[in-house]
């Protein structure tokens, strides 16, 4: 257990319990919460955990602010979509698309990093913003290749589709390809998350923390700070791309809104801050909370506004259209009361 978690234990009883519950719920989601919508939410949580963890490697451990994380996510997603479109459906296309996506993402991160991390961290943030915007424009312009604003719908292997049956029913759940697809997403995400956890607890991870704390001294004890920052950027980009590949496999669709939009970047930032920067487990908590809030807050508010129907002002405030406002309020409150995130807060209580 210690080796699986790379010696980075949750170090708090409530945190252990919460993480345990999340793990069990995700592992058994198709059985505990059968339903297209709930399983879709669970898959989204898995993927965002990886995406946010890879961002935390950069921000929380490396102290590097990037606005291009969604772009790397999108590169992985488009990689799978393009490979599946041009090679035909099949696991080989998924593999080629994922590996190529991760490779392109890492290479692009290398170029951006070498170009800008030498100068100043803030310069890197600006460059990533510029490159991400440029790529988003490019993707919508190159509609011949990328499908433009409409995106690409493609087919994944038959074994991952609802039409594929490999048994009858288990606990009332149909044993079909969609179930297999969910477990592919779940296991892929779990492995990637544990990999990230290992990296931040490796000697390399310690150097990143040292650089975040005091890059001047890190350099003076012999570490080439720029090389470490660039390496972290590449690794984080590659993992983000793999998360994007999983997302595309799950949706069997990729488009600018699902894989490249600035909204996703904002979601990632919210998740990493709410969960707790520099903790990895914060990614799990932040992604779970926010994905659930995004999926169900609107419904909940719809119900609530129905209940208070007839009273003044309240139905207006609780109308489902105001859910973003309430998400913003929640965010401000959580940052105010838990500046170190949920994980930091739980660990500090002891």
């Amino acid at each position: 257990m210690k080796a699986v978690l790379s010696g980075d234990m949750p170090r708090s009883v409530p945190l252990t319990l919460i993480l345990g519950v999340i793990l069990v719920c995700l592992a058994l989601a198709p059985f505990l919460f059968p339903g297209v919508r709930t399983v879709d939410t669970a898959a989204r949580i898995c993927i965002f955990v990886v995406l946010v963890a890879s961002y935390d490697l950069l921000l929380g451990y490396g102290g590097i602010v990037s606005f291009a994380h969604t772009m790397f996510f999108g590169i992985g997603a488009y990689g799978v979509a393009l490979a599946s479109t041009h090679m035909g459906r099949g696991f080989d296309a998924l593999l080629v698309g994922s590996v190529a996506g991760a490779g392109v993402a890492a290479a692009l991160a290398l170029v951006i990093g070498l170009f800008s991390l030498r100068v100043r961290a803030i310069f890197f943030a600006m460059i990533t913003l510029a490159v991400a915007s440029a790529v988003a424009v490019l993707v919508s312009q190159l509609s011949g290749l990328t499908g433009g604003e409409d995106g690409l719908t493609f087919q994944t292997p038959r074994a991952l589709g609802p039409a594929f049956k490999f048994g009858d029913e288990l606990f009332g759940v149909k044993l079909n390809g969609k179930l297999l697809a969910y477990y592919l997403i779940f296991l892929g995400s779990l492995i990637l998350f544990l990999l990230m956890l290992r990296v931040v607890n490796s000697p390399f991870g310690r150097v990143l923390q040292a650089i975040r704390e005091n890059d001047f001294r890190a350099e003076a004890i012999g570490y080439r700070v720029v090389h470490y920052r660039v390496a972290a950027t590449c690794l984080s980009a590659a993992v983000a791309a793999l998360a994007g590949s999983l997302y595309a496999i799950w949706l069997r669709y990729v488009g600018p809104d699902t894989a490249l939009s600035m909204e996703i970047m904002i979601d990632i930032l919210l998740m990493v801050v709410i969960g707790g920067m520099g903790t990895m487990y914060g990614a799990v908590i932040g992604a779970t909370l926010l994905v659930i809030a995004q999926n169900y807050l609107q419904n909940l508010m719809g119900v609530a506004s129905g209940v208070v129907d007839g009273l003044p002002v309240l139905p207006e405030l609780l109308s489902a259209d105001r859910w973003l406002l309430w998400l913003g309020v929640l965010f401000i409150l959580s940052v105010y009361f838990f500046p170190t995130g949920v994980v930091g807060r739980l660990r500090a209580r002891k």
Partner: protein, 254 residues
């Protein structure tokens, strides 16, 4: 005589119109402990910054084992054998005392790009770091977060990082400043031990005369950034420039 391990040639830096280090030419040999003295603002720390690479020189060169290293980065110079302890404590404040030292040991072991093993399982790194902590009497504080450490202990840790680095050229910038009378001797003993080792070069910025008298093989005096005197302690201390400018005041009363 052995060739110098470190030398500066006409080393100069200007900040705007102010010349902080002024054409300093000086060579340092292995086994030699040189005290660098001069009043506050004389350019001692800046001279160190030029040698270890934190600041680029406006003119002149830094030679390590005869090779010009003037254009090289701080980390390159560190790996080449120039180590530095800072006058203003410069640590990793939110990491533990042990982790601070272990980072240095790990850098020396070339393990920085090891991504897939668990840092906590590298017993050889931990053992080496604990050995260093024992030598500076900080082993009891090993798990404390640095920002919670007393000022004196932070100063000790500053020295510990340099000892862990074990470079060929040690540069100490007022290592005992801010330490209590019972903390300073530990550090001075460590510096004396380096001198005993005979193969290390030590540059020591220090104000306390008794310390200089017992440790230094040689004194150089910086005055307004320029080299004002250079020679054996007795000679330099007796010289007019030192008698007039420093012996009476700064050196004694700091």
């Amino acid at each position: 005589m052995t060739p110098p391990i470190l030398a500066t040639e006409d080393l100069t830096v200007r900040f705007g119109g102010h010349v902080a280090v002024d054409a300093v030419t000086c060579a340092f040999r292995a086994g030699e402990l040189t005290a660098i003295v001069g009043p506050n603002g004389a350019g001692k720390t800046t001279y160190f910054n030029l040698i270890s690479g934190q600041i680029p020189a406006s003119a002149g060169r830094v030679l390590l084992r005869g090779r010009n290293i003037s254009g090289q980065s701080v980390s390159h110079r560190t790996r080449a054998g120039i180590g530095r302890a800072f006058q203003l404590t410069n640590l990793f404040p939110n990491l533990s005392v042990l982790e601070n030292v272990r980072l240095v040991v790990q850098a020396k072991a070339g393990q920085g790009f090891n991504l897939l093993s668990m840092a906590s399982r590298h017993a050889e790194l931990t053992d080496a770091a604990e050995g260093i902590l024992a030598r500076v009497r900080l082993l009891d504080n090993r798990d404390q977060v640095v920002s919670e450490l007393s000022h004196g202990n932070q100063r000790k840790l500053e020295v510990a990082l340099l000892i862990a680095l074990d470079p060929d050229v040690y540069m100490f910038d007022e290592p005992t400043a801010g330490m209590s009378v019972d903390e300073a001797p530990v550090v001075l003993e460590l510096i004396a031990a380096l001198k005993e080792q005979k193969d290390r070069t030590v540059l020591l910025v220090e104000h306390k005369m008794d310390v200089i008298r017992t440790l230094a093989d040689r004194i150089i005096v910086l005055h307004n950034g320029a080299l004002a005197a250079d020679g054996p302690p007795a000679e330099v201390m007796a010289s007019d420039v030192v008698q007039e400018a420093y012996m009476g005041r700064e050196l004694e009363d700091v």
